[in-house]
Amino acid sequence: DAGVTQSPTHLIKTRGQQVTLRCSPISGHKSVSWYQQVLGQGPQFIFQYYEKEERGRGNFPDRFSARQFPNYSSELNVNALLLGDSALYLCASSLARGPNTEAFFGQGTRLTVV
């Protein structure tokens, strides 16, 4: 079975532009979460979606938005990009069956804002 897939793998954008990142979860997983990992730090939670509804939101500005589609894939959108948005953006999917549920991560999208 395919794991969590993210696209694109790398992206370079200019300040002020908008970006859309995509994630396909493992088949059967209805929960998708997004994380931002700045170089040298652990991942920071951005959003969680379950059954197309937002279930959690981290401490990120309104420039960040996301959605989940009927097939459980997801998109993360970031508007008005800042240099500080440069990071590895990780998507994770899971069965979301409790606090000990394993989350499976994709390899991430490396976003560079110049």
């Binding site: 379950y50 279930r55 989350a103 991560f105």
Partner: protein
């Protein structure tokens, strides 16, 4: 507020040495997960510890959950270059299993 602290931040050792990395919190958590992340990849789950005092072994890796469930350690015996990576501890903030708080990680380098 950093809920999880990890130490050391960096560790560079020779192949064959033993090492221990730590994860601490001022709060009690119901369970803790350890992940390893290699360069250019997403984190991969190593283990989940649930019970205070619990010890789990995964080949040369030994994970321990503190009795008070506020700290955890990962011990690696006879480290190998393939153990190189970023070791992250994480706890779940909700009951659905997808809102993780990660520590800053310990970056381990095992030299041949």
């Amino acid at each position: 507020t950093q809920l999880l602290e990890q130490s050391p931040q960096f560790l560079s050792i020779q192949e064959g040495e033993n090492l221990t990395v730590y994860c601490n919190s001022s709060s009690v958590f119901s369970s803790l997960q350890w992940y390893r992340q290699e360069p250019g990849e997403g984190p991969v789950l190593l283990v989940t510890v649930v019970t205070g005092g619990e010890v789990k072994k995964l080949k040369r890796l030994t994970f321990q959950f503190g009795d008070a469930r506020k700290d955890s350690s990962l011990h690696i015996t006879a480290a190998q270059p393939g153990d190189t990576g970023l070791y992250l501890c994480a706890l779940n903030r909700d009951n659905y299993g997808q809102n993780f708080v990660f520590g800053p990680g310990t970056r381990l380098s095992v030299l041949p």
